[in-house]
């Protein structure tokens, strides 16, 4: 029994997932993460390098890697002990100027061999700002529909208000769980309950329910 077998077994037992948070700089990756973890988001400076955070979500342990926007940090994606299960690509919906760049970057990212098979969640962030691009426009600018190598979904959200974050992450977690932890997968209603216990201090349950209804209408 090699060490890596043991680690893989442990990972499966504790229902762990590794999630990469990526995107251009100033897209709001760290803010989303802090909001999800229920931390203060009033003071966030550009992420230099990266942070690893553990979040319990829907009965799963997410090891979230918040990697800075710089290209030089790409080497982090590959690691001896773990593989990447999901990529969360955060887009600044109000940054029309760089949307094409953003698409380029995303293409390059999906070509990475070490991310093969990872689930892709695109967060169209900053939807609360005036002049934000619509979900359809972003989808087409990023030409998401031509992606065949990864399971993907795009969700609108606002890190500032917290709208849309939970449904998006729920989708990604559910998707990964469906691939990796089928038999141990928890039913949605059950996960709801567990999550409230797990991410205590997160978005208030009531507010989230309201937000969800609203976002549900906007999410394609």
């Amino acid at each position: 029994m090699g060490l890596l077998t043991i680690i893989r077994k442990n990972k499966a037992k504790s229902k762990e997932m590794r999630v990469l948070f990526l995107g251009l700089d100033n897209a709001g990756k760290t803010t989303i993460l802090k909001k999800l973890a229920g931390e203060d988001i009033s003071q966030i400076s550009p992420t230099l390098g990266f942070n690893i955070k553990t979040l319990i979500w829907g009965g799963y342990t997410l090891n979230i890697w918040d990697v800075g926007g710089q290209k030089t940090l790409r080497p982090y994606w590959r690691n001896y002990f773990e593989s990447t299960d999901a990529v969360v690509w955060v887009v600044d919906s109000s940054d029309r100027m760089r949307m094409a760049d953003c698409g380029e970057e995303l293409r390059g990212l999906l070509g990475e061999e070490r991310l093969a098979g990872a689930t892709l969640l695109v967060f169209a962030n900053k939807q609360d700002l005036a002049g934000a691009m619509t979900l359809e426009d972003i989808r087409d600018t990023l030409s998401l529909r031509s992606i065949s190598s990864h399971r993907w979904s795009i969700h609108s959200c606002s890190a500032y208000t917290g709208e849309g974050l939970s449904p998006g992450l729920d989708w990604a977690v559910h998707e990964v769980a469906g691939r990796l932890y089928w038999s141990g997968r928890v039913a949605p209603s059950e996960s709801e309950g567990k999550r409230q216990g797990g991410s205590e201090g997160g978005v208030r349950a009531g507010a989230r329910a309201g937000a969800r209804a609203k976002v549900g209408a906007r999410c394609l």
Partner: protein
Amino acid sequence: MARNLEDDTDPTYTHFSHRTEFLAHLADFLSLDLSHDPSESEQEDEEGLVRAMGAILDHYLPLPGLLDPSLDEIVPPLMTALSSSLGRLSESQHVSPSRLFRLGRVINWVVKVRGWKAIVPHFPSSISHLPILVSLLSPPTSPSTSSTPITPHHPLISSQAAWELRAVLLLWLALLLTVPFSLSALGAPSPLPPAAFQIDLPSYHRLFPTELAPLGERVVLLALQLLHRPGKEGAYAALVLARIYSRTDAVVGLSGFLEWAAEELHEGEREGEANFVASLLELLALLPGMLPPKYLGEIHAFTEERLLPHLRGGRTAASSGLVRKLAVKARGRWWIARLSGADMAVGLEDALDDFMSGLSDKDTIVRYSSAKYLARITGLLPAELSEQIVLATVGLFSGTEDEPVIETSFGTVVDPGGSPIGGMMGFGGAETVRGEARWHGVCLAVAEMARRGLLKHEAIGEAVKWALTFDLRRASHSIGANVRDAAAYVLWSLSRACPPDELRPYAEDMATGMISVACFDREVGVRRAASAAYQEGVGRLGLYPEGIDVLAKTDFYSVSVRRMAFTLAAPAVALHRVYRDRMRSHLHHITLRHWDTVMRTLGATALKDLLELGTKEDMDDSITREIIELSSLDAASAHGALAALEQILTTLQEADPRRRKIVSSLSTVRPAALVSQQAADMLQTACHLLTAALDGDVIAESSTQTLLNQFIETTMRRREAECHEAVTRVFGRLSELRACGPEVIKLVGDLKSMRAAQRQSAALALGAIRYEHCPDVTEKVVHALLSQLEPEVKADVETRRYAIRSLASIACQTDSNEALLGNPDSFRRIVASLLACLSDYTTDQRGDVGSWIRVAALRALGGVVGCAAGLPPATALALVDQENFERVIAGTVRLGVEKLEPVRAASAGALRDLRLVHARAVWDWEGEECLKAEMSDGEDAFRYLDQQAWFASGMPLLKTRYRADLVAGLVLTIGSQVESVSRLALTPFTDYLLGPDADGVLGGVLADVEGLMGGNVTSNRVFVPCLTTLLRIVQAGVISRGVSEVLGDTLTKILSLACRGIPTIKSIERITASMKLVIAMLCAPTTPRVVLDKAVDAVPLFLGHRFPRTSITRDLAADSDHVFLDAHAEAMDMSRADELARRTDALTVRRTALSGSYGARRRIGRQL
């Protein structure tokens, strides 16, 4: 709505991507009729089908969970098929045994890959299956007859081949036993005496002191006998028992069972008990989680007082890692069940002690189990207790009280210390390599504890300290890479589970230690593990100095290739002082002392790079440290010091006093080290060091000469080519600094030494010396080296090869006025001698060693002639006249198309050299544009060229004066026995001959070949390839073109040469080649008449050859003759054709009649 934007294409690698394929196989498999026996061919197909399904399943072994979504499509249909066959079986209808077994095999395969716990829920749980399973697994009720012996189960499922089927049935039975109704409500199976289960009456009473429901009793009885079976059968029988005894209506029977098991152990033979013991332990591991707590005591008593004492001192546990592992598991599970309910209990300490000693078991599975349960139990205990256990576990790193670990002053381990005596639980299984297993096990345990957040305060510091230590050198290897791998896992786990504040005091130590390992470990797995641990720390803790920057330089890929890790990653990280210092000491302590030479050498390079970034003090410190190591008792260490000092020297300016210090320190190398196993490496490195060190100051030092004498003399006696090269460089450097007359005289003398090694290095060294300061000895040297090339001197191949190199180098040496040092006559003699070397085809047991000479001569000629070309034309022509130049080109062309690629490469290199110096301006060079290869990167580039294109580029030479030489080279390649080599040259050759530019060339080519054959009648090395070449070009249809009387004449001559002396020739190869050529000529439709006649005349030679082995030859000859007769019947003189046909037929008839006896063949031969 949210789903609208999702794609619905399936990525292939993240789910059960073979689903469709697998289900198709499954459908095929399920369509088979189990009531019919398959035919033999069907049998084969079905086996293939099972293997195909198994292969797909095995593919998912690493991530079996991916199968889960499809299990509902896989398992239930298989189980339906199984249950219907079982139904038929219980009604005594026919079921095909082989098909039924295969069904069992497929189900068991699924179970094996995914694990039984995930599969069983997909089994049918209808209670109606229970009686069928029970009756099939029980012995048959009908009395046995002589033709049907007693079987333990239904006869059909009792065979050895049905074990997978039985395993599946047991799993199913175990599932059905969870039925919530009382067993007595389920009816009784048809009665059988206990004897049918090999149970005698006393045992029966022991087993069932109180009455059990008949069904329960039957299940127990049938499972008991299966406990003795190996593997899964035993394990699943244990599962069945666990299920039955954990039922409220059967738990009363448990004490009886334990009583029986104890008795069985006591009475049974120890030799064959391993399976039984393993099954019992499986059962004991299952029970604690299933039984009501009040029964825990009962099984504890059995384990601790009956089973474990029974195993102690015996061979069962000592020789089986599985038994020891299961013992750990059974006890671990028991304690976890126990502690979940109550608090601290008696006996726990002993158990923990046993788990701790299990960490040093020789088998990994035992170590891992011990680590796992140790950590899990620790996690259940109150904090103050768990802290003690953690500390005690970490303490195991340092050996036992009697035999503690021994460290050097700088903290690396010299001796790992002892492990607990007697092994875990007194079972034996102690580690075989001291320290290795224990450290690995303790690392696993500590990592498990760290992962659970159990490491606190000082335990963290201790764990970190140890985790960075494990690079202990053994005689020829280090303590396992797996220990260091696991140590990195400890650090990784710590980074994940410990709050930053706890780790703060150790952060720098951890960071620098991990980076040193990530850059400088020998194994890629360990480097990557260290890199990952570092990465985790940077991301989670934010405590590591310059973490982000360093991480980018030492990521997964940067450390993947060892050389890159040493030469790129390490210097990049070392920009930061904090890492540089730690890395430097890592190099001094571990890498430069490593058992692997490559590691020491790389370490030396890395040290140089680090020192260039550091201060003068660092440099002085490193020099001092390594000088001390020079006198080490350990030769590997001393070699590391030499390598390091050599690298350091290359960075020191001339006249730096430290250079002298280093050189004089060489005298401290222990003489014994220079005859050790490391001697070749050491001497080679010492020579490099001297080469780098020699300068005006150093050479003026009186002690230097003594050192030089000592090292040069010793190195020259070594056999290794690397040593020869190294010592040569010393001479080269020395002669740049001062006149070397006495050395040269000595070297010339050494050419006559008794030692081959000394002769060889002398020959090489003479070429490295600069004769500028001692021109008067040059002639003497040239003479001595030339004489080495004379056949009568019988110099060995290596010496000759070196002599050639040296001669070329001497011939080209100039004085300060750019005038050649040697006299023109010597130059001409050197050229002549080199030309002769182009035809060296010496062979010995190593093969064509002559090729080394040819390669060396080609390179030498390229250099020497090139050097002449650089002189004024008149001088150049005086040294190499036109005639000799043409000889050079002729030889080079010939070798440029020969069959060995290195020789061709050398030839291409020589031609390139000559083009570069514009030889054409001095001499007439016909065909200069031919055989041109792009190889600006040197000769190595040649092997990447398209070789066929290379040959093609030489073909125009067929129209030049070099035709004969080209042909001489080509026949060796085209005539090669290796088909692929032959094709390289044959295709371009025939293409050219059949192409538009080949007018009139063929005649010349054939004449050349004939000439070659004529000159080599006694040399098969050339003669046979000539024959084969002719055969191949005839078969390619080249002769059909331009057939003329002239050609006919040549071909006739060739044929007579080919057949000359055939009856007396012994080489089968040659006879075959000649024969094939004759046949080919006969068969080619355009062969001129004269040639045909000649060929016909030759046929009997082969038909009647006296060699029995050539009967194949004759077969071939006879067959081919008929072909030929068809082709030529009309054109030929009919009487001759008839005659030939008659002979051939007669031969065929007689051969058949006489069935090939040797004497008969002889007679036929005479008649013909």
